[in-house]
Subunit: 240 residues, 2 copies
């Protein structure tokens, strides 16, 4: 932002650089959910003729008076009705021809939601959960964005207690382990998994039992801390 050599005021900058205000900026959200033992992604039918019949991530242009996180939360709220979700910026994609309408740079966020706790009143317009394994050939560069976010989650899921955002409030260790397995794509040893989780001190024993399972019920737990909207903001600011 500091290319010119003579000293200028902010006001003169605004005028002299008006040429550059020809790039649009959007956010795209990779919204992860978990249901029927599978990781799911929320996708919408592309509304661009160029990509008709292709699915795409949920996104929108950033409005001049909202910041990037606000835009992401707005999209999540509009689409899922949720406004207290975990959201994290991952990467910004700015290739020249990534969008057929013109120059659009997009900031990718991933989001983790409890798929059964939200009521998509919105199944009428073409918004659906897709199994990760079924997804291919998304619109725009959304496959690349999805892969980048997936990789980020895999890196973070053992480091930070974010995974609980995908589960209902009460869950068994089996459910938690199955979720880890579907994110990481590996099988985990049950005893070692439980040992590791209890060392991390992320969950609280609720002294309740599963019901409606066709086998011996397991104990129910809840997350000790939930990383959500407000906490995520605090984390970033504390780097100052």
């Amino acid at each position: 932002m500091d290319k010119l050599l003579n000293l200028k005021t902010a006001e003169s900058e605004k005028v002299s650089h008006s040429d550059y205000f020809r790039i649009a900026i959007s956010v795209d959200c990779v919204i992860f959910g978990y249901d029927k033992k599978e990781l799911k992604i929320l996708l919408i039918k592309s509304d661009l003729a160029e990509f008709s019949d292709l699915w795409s991530l949920l996104g929108d242009l950033v409005r001049p008076n909202e910041d990037l996180e606000t835009a992401s939360y707005r999209i999540l709220k509009e689409r899922t009705g949720l406004d207290d979700v975990y959201l994290e910026q991952v990467y910004t994609f700015g290739s020249l021809n990534r969008h057929p309408s013109g120059r659009v740079i997009t900031v990718a966020y991933y989001s983790l939601v409890d798929i059964n706790h939200l009521h998509l009143k919105l199944t009428h317009n073409e918004l659906h959960w897709h199994r990760l394994t079924d997804i291919k050939n998304l619109a725009f560069d959304h496959q690349l964005i999805l892969n980048t976010c997936l990789q980020r989650i895999r890196e973070q899921v053992m480091e930070k207690p974010v995974i609980f955002n995908l589960l209902p409030e009460k869950f068994s260790l089996r459910e938690l382990q199955e979720l880890y397995q579907s994110i990481l794509g590996v099988n985990l040893d049950r005893r070692n998994f439980r040992k590791k989780i209890s060392l991390k001190d992320w969950v609280v024993d609720l002294d309740e039992m599963e019901s409606d399972v066709p086998h011996r019920p397991g104990k129910l737990y809840k997350a000790k801390v939930q990383l959500r909207k407000k906490q995520a903001k605090k984390r970033l600011q504390s780097q100052l």
Copy 2:
């Protein structure tokens, strides 16, 4: 990018959303160097009256016909004369009031350069290397950007062989260890450090010795692989 419900062409999109092309986008580069056993950052005197006498990162608006990486390389080339450096995107900052000239969203990159290999013909305009420990009160939100990039480097420096971009082609293990120490801010045990480096298989023994040191000379090494411009691009694309 998919908010409207009726099907549109790319062309109609471009027109109907023209309101949104009022946000400018920039890149800011946190350029790290290493000299005299200290980590250094390349800063320039801010050219905005609002921030007169404050230092800022090197950055510029992204041009409509260049992608984000191209813009970052352009800045590096203009300022340092180097065009084969390591560069990595870190985070995008978009707060409403981060820039006094108006709405500017900036994509932060960090870069690692060999401070002694480049000839800053440019010391005339106010461009200088600053010791990390001396930096305070930068222009804009550049302190936050710097801290975010520093944290990213600290996470990556034991994971990927990027650190060699800060050193001359030939270096001793003592120099490498001192560099790690100044990045991580800790002291490392010499024997354990050498063990770890040799396990990582990142360096090649050159069968040469240091000269001009006032003590027993050590062996010289070079990096086995250099992560640079082309490799960095390949890495990202391979995620598809």
